[in-house]
Symmetry: C2
Amino acid sequence: MPDLPELGDAPLKQDRIVTAPVAGFTAGAAAAGVRKDGRVDVALIAGEEAYPAAALFTRNRLAAAPVQVARRHVSGGRLRAVLANSGCANAATGEKGLEACRAACRAAAAALGCSEEEIFPCSTGVIGQLLPAAKIEAALPGLAAGLSPEGLPLAEGAIMTTDAFKKMSEVSVTIQGKPVRVAGLAKGAGMIRPDMATMLAFVLTDAAASPEALAKALGIAAELSFHRASVDGDTSTNDTLLLWASGKAGNRELNDNEPELAVLAAAVTKVCQELAAMLVADGEGAGHLIRVVVTGAESDEAARHTAFAIAHSPLCKTAFAGRDPNWGRLLSTAGAEAARQGLGFAEEKCRLWIGDALIAEGGVYTDARAEEAAARVMQRERYQIRLDLGLGQGQFWALTSDLDHKYIEINADYRS
Amino acid sequence: MPDLPELGDAPLKQDRIVTAPVAGFTAGAAAAGVRKDGRVDVALIAGEEAYPAAALFTRNRLAAAPVQVARRHVSGGRLRAVLANSGCANAATGEKGLEACRAACRAAAAALGCSEEEIFPCSTGVIGQLLPAAKIEAALPGLAAGLSPEGLPLAEGAIMTTDAFKKMSEVSVTIQGKPVRVAGLAKGAGMIRPDMATMLAFVLTDAAASPEALAKALGIAAELSFHRASVDGDTSTNDTLLLWASGKAGNRELNDNEPELAVLAAAVTKVCQELAAMLVADGEGAGHLIRVVVTGAESDEAARHTAFAIAHSPLCKTAFAGRDPNWGRLLSTAGAEAARQGLGFAEEKCRLWIGDALIAEGGVYTDARAEEAAARVMQRERYQIRLDLGLGQGQFWALTSDLDHKYIEINADYRS
């Protein structure tokens, strides 16, 4: 597959922090008391003025109050600040939730001296709990006063929920001879599924670009990153992905049919891919990051169905946790999905690799040497499995994680 | 919902055994050495002669060798014996797997003095391992000699894999003034999903009915039982459901448009519902049997999608394991499925009950008293949740289980 990005080998499951500022942005965090445990729980990221922005949101029909408000605010094309909290999703909270969200936005606008519509609100945490707006209002003057160009890691800390480590990433490129930086921060571990996840991700750049250009770049980046990530097949109420551009790099503002937009889009894609890989690797207890590559499908769409069927399957994911090259389960999952979706499937044409080990060919087991090699691959933190269906030219890849005991520990008692 | 069957309150998770014979059938089991642990692993159930039969099989495109052979053999409409083994699924084994299956059938036919096409082969166990036909051939003369009318519990024991308890059920009805018995035995715990599961289920009756009548009764029964059961959303390679009628009750043979067929169909449905409930309750480590009822959907099909989305969701199922009335996750899962399937969804119209406790109304939390009541309901072994979408008359129900640590223990190391 020519479009396969590097799988990478940076150690997973440890804090990755970007300390260098992105020109034009300041950030900070506070412990406002939304969380019961006293940890920092509110983040503010601000521009010096309103900058162009574009965003993607959950497709869940149960969209949280902040998603509804943020969607409207970003439709204006420019944002002055992101106001994000952990500890409460403010989802399934009805009209009261919308009012609480708007009150928090008004307080942020007052602290920064901008309009309410320039605030981009985000919440993450337990569904069904109303945002305690008064606590956030009380914290905002101090938060605004403490904003700093070095504050992005603080903001990252304030939006983490079940995350086991901090997730940040950066890339530098040159556009029209000007050095441009793209830096992102994300939170999210469970409820990860294509079409967005329980995740907040903010990608900041000092490039100059129109809102339309940012929307185009973000669409490309999401398709090749977050939309290919699966932890548990659930789609959250609060997922939000923002791309926001200060223009301080000094390039001429990119519009949406500028050839140089491809350079910015590639940088945003790289950052989003690293963030997505960290999200999946965190995966609420997961120990492995697995890329599922499907080739030889009758179409790319058929390959997509098959890759996600394996990426979502609890049986395949527990085999990954057990480091067990249970190739029959992988083939069986592909065969079941073919039946569900009405796709072609011929077991005698299937070949399956775990890493470089060809463990099944012609639909049957190859040999013990391949199985031993596959078992060694499955000890790694990151690896790839590839299923070739032998039917055509369709291909797709998706990222998944293993399903370990910790997933249940984390999710059975999440609200306690 | 008028068609809701009794949820029942018999203790789950303990052996349920039917000891009384079904007239016309004998059964037995042997330890042939297919399993590594020396347990009984081959079952034989025989008629005195070939009796009418009908069967349903997995829709997985990766159908095991015994499924391919059994499908052809039952198409003749009459069977002399069922030959089933655990310890090896004989799936993804190609032409060699088919040959091994046919060799086992020939040995059974020789032992019983019938034709190979009257043998119904079934296998369950690890995918990708070839059936050791010679071991089964060696065991068959002894197996055939030891057949007994009281042997059904022995056969049940021989087909168990990860099952924690024996699953049998029986019902008696009257047809044309004749007492008729229907008795079933099943195995299966994981890989349970609608459109069949990793499960073998054999339903025997002494009623007289044509193969076409049996096929009709079996279709009704499966739709209201096994096709509504979900443990982990996976569809196995080997699922098989058989209905087999000796005719010894002495009623006039039922054909497929006989009104009295409804009595037989109802009895078969009851047996299949009890077997399906036991399968889900076993659910590889599960502690609870949960019925997900969706009402007020725009159509029955929409209700079906929503019910199965909740029944399959790892996040909902871990909340069930944690006895946590996390109603927001249930609503969120419904909202996400609505987006995926293009269904209507209006959070302000949603009502959610856990048992009798109305925990969310108008899309928002009701009160702490309802939450406490819901938490008490979730301590029970069996309970019901009901989501009313407030959009129309569509309704559906599905059975699921909780996702507990033991699921991962069982599945991460299944092959070791």
